[in-house]
Symmetry: C2
Subunit: 499 residues, 2 copies
């Protein structure tokens, strides 16, 4: 890549073009183009698995953080800040945990000169159970200290050697991790359900992204968990991407870290713990992929850093009047709680600005020219429908209402798109056919415990897909024999390709 | 420390005592106690230089972040997210930068098995000039793209081998780093002044923490900067702590990274860059130290996670009525925009709650008992003055006004405390005496350039203090000869002990 073409994404570059592929025709290339051209990320620092998130992407991510944090705080979580590093001895304390994570841990160099020679080897945190649990042991003394529900926002590091993909799979990613402690198994399992509810409230209700809550097979759960429930979102290319997952740890970590409490009856008992991890950088992938179109991003009104952009259209003659009018309109919108930007950049034409803000997914564009000034009105363009209307001045409060309707439309469109995407299959051939159509296969399966692992391997090797697990919010009865081994089926599982 | 005593800081522990030393008598011990007992940090994970920031501390830090970020955005900065790691070749590009930082860089282990053998060695970022500047080279093409003002929030890592102290000096700390690029030297230097203004607006105006903006001697500037201006805050023990510093880099980094732009006249020119870094975890130290008293924290109203705590005082008989009344009052306060907590914990006495929330520095306590219920009023305790008053119901809006007056009082008290703390000295003996009194010496000095380094070494070795530099907001004329070498003095410097 030459220096000159590198410069093409600079903010005022006039040579930047729109998307050159259709989302429906080549999703992978569409995604690569949109994250670069809408200035979400920049990959040119060139460190494998690490990306730069540009201002437009960061502002969206800050909104995602805010919304999750608010919901978590409403549900009784408090924020903490834990170190980014974990001592080796902590990381290795829970056996299945370290077995799972060992291959992808980044370690810090120990001091070669020996000036700190006696200090313990440190890892960059891949996840933080092994620092939260020993602190639970110190912070919780009796049942009166429970439940204890904490979260932290920050990044984690996984030395993934598989192919990385910007925001989808990286060596550093940005998330919230919740770690909660309870007196009883029942309460801990209720927390897992509450976590799914949080995903539903934010990911689905607010961002309009439908998902399947899927209980993972035993071979695919979080390392150290008793069970894991993931949220599977279907991407336009027919692959599933895992969004927030929640883990019931039982007493595994509390036993490893001797984290006990005194019950009402005065007995010593181990804590029950859970973990929940919405990765905001990855959720951004689903926001982009679910709602984006061939012109660029389509950001939900709730998330958009700019909800309405005001674009003045003027000649040399009426410039000052138009700019003044546009400025007034911007102020009125802001006073009505709408995040607004007045784009009065003199180096761009209105047409260029239309293109730029459509690419960036701003929900509403307000055009102000001579006609609007004279008629005391404004022209309103809506990003998702592409419809232009005019409206009289003074009714700015209704932009928020329009925003709500807009978000509802995005959600409905996404829901409709999911209809018919899950198909019950009775033969392996059916599965292959359904997967080719970019859909999810629903099949009878022998078991999601150890016993079923062989059949899952068959699915992976012979069909090139993954047994994602069973629905977590419903108990589905199998309707025949295992589609792979033909022995009696215990569960209904969902099979799809995945990221 | 036994397990039992470890448990003493659990949230419901009734055995937790207040501070056992006076701030004026043993500041160091007072600080150690307050950060633990007010549940700001927990050191018991035991990793040298890394602390856990508990919910109460994290909620304050989130407020600090919010206030700085808002101010920075108002001043035209946009947020970005850069990787936490920096490739070795980037870090080593600007010579004086790496010379300064090399001793305190944490490196990641390179992959021993060679599966990623060809990947470049990575450092944990100690600061991010060496990733921002190469991106400026890509993002800025012409003068129309300037200025470009960016910031990121996050933590940085320094393998400090000196003694660490919680939140004061650590191996991981939490800050905002701003990196700005300009077309001209003049604009870049104006940015440095704007950064000082940001410090003043937030640190001083909002948090009531007086500081001296000090231009550092050449031997004490940021590694890679042309000059550095720090904000020195006097701690109760007479030592200075550096708060936000701002650096004028000139074209040093842009030359190292070939970051050019096209001027209006069509010429190629190197960018001028600046950096500004408010460390929120360290600012918390000054908030605690400046305003805290012998009963605990005294949090500015603007910062307090809980601005008013409502404490119901009831008997078995009137419990439900009192709780209902207290709940109504809490709701009214919240409706008036006051961050409020109703502490209805049944396992604590009102007296214990008074103690707890005073220790945590909550500005206002509202007591609700039979008397208040009958009289349709409430009792209001103010943290900084210790005064109790009663007020009739219905006027909750004025709590915000009281909060403003409260913050003003904290600021005035801090200002008064600084009066007479800077003393002009004419002899070395004077300096020693002034330092012993916990004050700052103002003296004639030969030079803050290379020439004066010997005299500064003398001050360090023989007087045990530091030449901090010259006032950055005033041009002070020296009033005699250099107090150390007795040659002609070029500058007036400030000498003090420091953290």
């Amino acid at each position: 890549m030459t220096k000159q073409s590198d410069k093409d994404s600079s903010k005022n570059s006039k040579s930047k073009e729109g998307l050159t592929v259709k989302k429906s025709e080549n999703f992978s290339e569409w995604y690569s183009q949109i994250i670069e051209k809408a200035e979400i990320v920049d990959l040119r620092l060139g460190i494998k698995g690490f990306v730069i998130i540009r201002p437009w992407g960061t502002l969206i991510i800050e909104r995602l953080y805010d919304m999750f944090e608010k919901e978590l705080q409403n549900k009784g979580h408090l924020p903490v800040i834990m170190p980014s590093v974990i001592p080796e001895s902590n990381l290795k304390k829970e056996e299945s945990h370290i077995q799972g994570f060992a291959p992808e841990v980044f370690w810090l160099e120990t001091d070669k000169e020996g000036k700190n020679g006696k200090e313990e080897r440190l890892a960059l945190r891949p996840t933080s159970e092994t620092v939260f649990t020993p602190m639970f042991a110190l912070w919780v003394r009796s049942h009166r200290d429970l439940p204890l529900k904490l979260y932290q926002r920050g990044s984690v590091f996984r030395y993934d050697t598989k192919s990385t993909r910007p925001l989808v799979r990286g060596r550093e990613f940005y998330w919230i991790e919740c770690h909660d402690a309870f007196a009883t198994k029942k309460e801990a399992e209720a927390q897992v359900q509450e976590d799914i509810d949080t995903t539903r409230k934010i990911l689905y209700e607010k961002f309009g992204i439908p998902f399947l809550p899927i209980r993972r097979p035993s071979w695919d759960k979080f390392a150290g968990a008793e069970y894991t429930i993931g949220s599977d979102v279907l991407m336009p290319d027919g692959k599933l991407i895992q969004q927030p997952s929640t883990h019931f740890m039982g007493q595994r970590f509390s036993k490893a870290f001797d984290a006990k409490f005194t019950t009402k009856e005065g007995k010593e008992e181990y804590l029950y713990t859970t973990a929940y991890g919405p990765a905001v950088s990855r959720i951004l992938v689903s926001v982009i992929s679910t709602h984006g179109d061939d012109k660029g991003l389509v950001l939900p009104f709730e998330i958009a850093p700019v909800q309405a952009v005001v674009i003045p259209i003027y000649t040399v003659k009426n410039k000052s009047k138009i700019l003044k009018y546009a400025g007034e309109i911007m102020k009125k919108l802001e006073a009505n709680g709408v995040r607004t930007k007045l784009d009065s950049d003199e180096n761009s034409t209105p047409g260029w600005k239309f293109h730029e803000w459509e690419l960036k997914g701003v929900p509403f564009r307000i055009e102000i020219g001579e006609k609007e000034l004279k008629g005391k009105k404004f022209t309103l363009f809506t990003r998702d429908t592409g419809v232009k209307t005019t409206a009289p001045l003074g009714k700015f409060g209704y932009i928020k209402k329009l925003g709500e309707a807009y978000d509802k439309r995005l959600k409905t469109r996404a829901d409709n798109n999911m209809k018919g995407k899950t198909v019950s299959c009775k033969t392996k051939e059916d599965i292959r056919k359904i997967l080719k159509e970019g859909k999810i296969a629903r099949v009878n399966f022998c078991s999601t415990e150890k016993k079923g692992e062989k059949c899952a391997e068959y699915v992976e090797k012979e069909i090139g897909a993954e047994v994602r697990g069973t629905l977590a919010d419903r108990n589905e009865k199998p309707f025949g024999k295992c589609i792979i081994c033909n022995t009696s089926a215990n569960v209904v599982v969902y099979i799809a390709k995945s990221y």
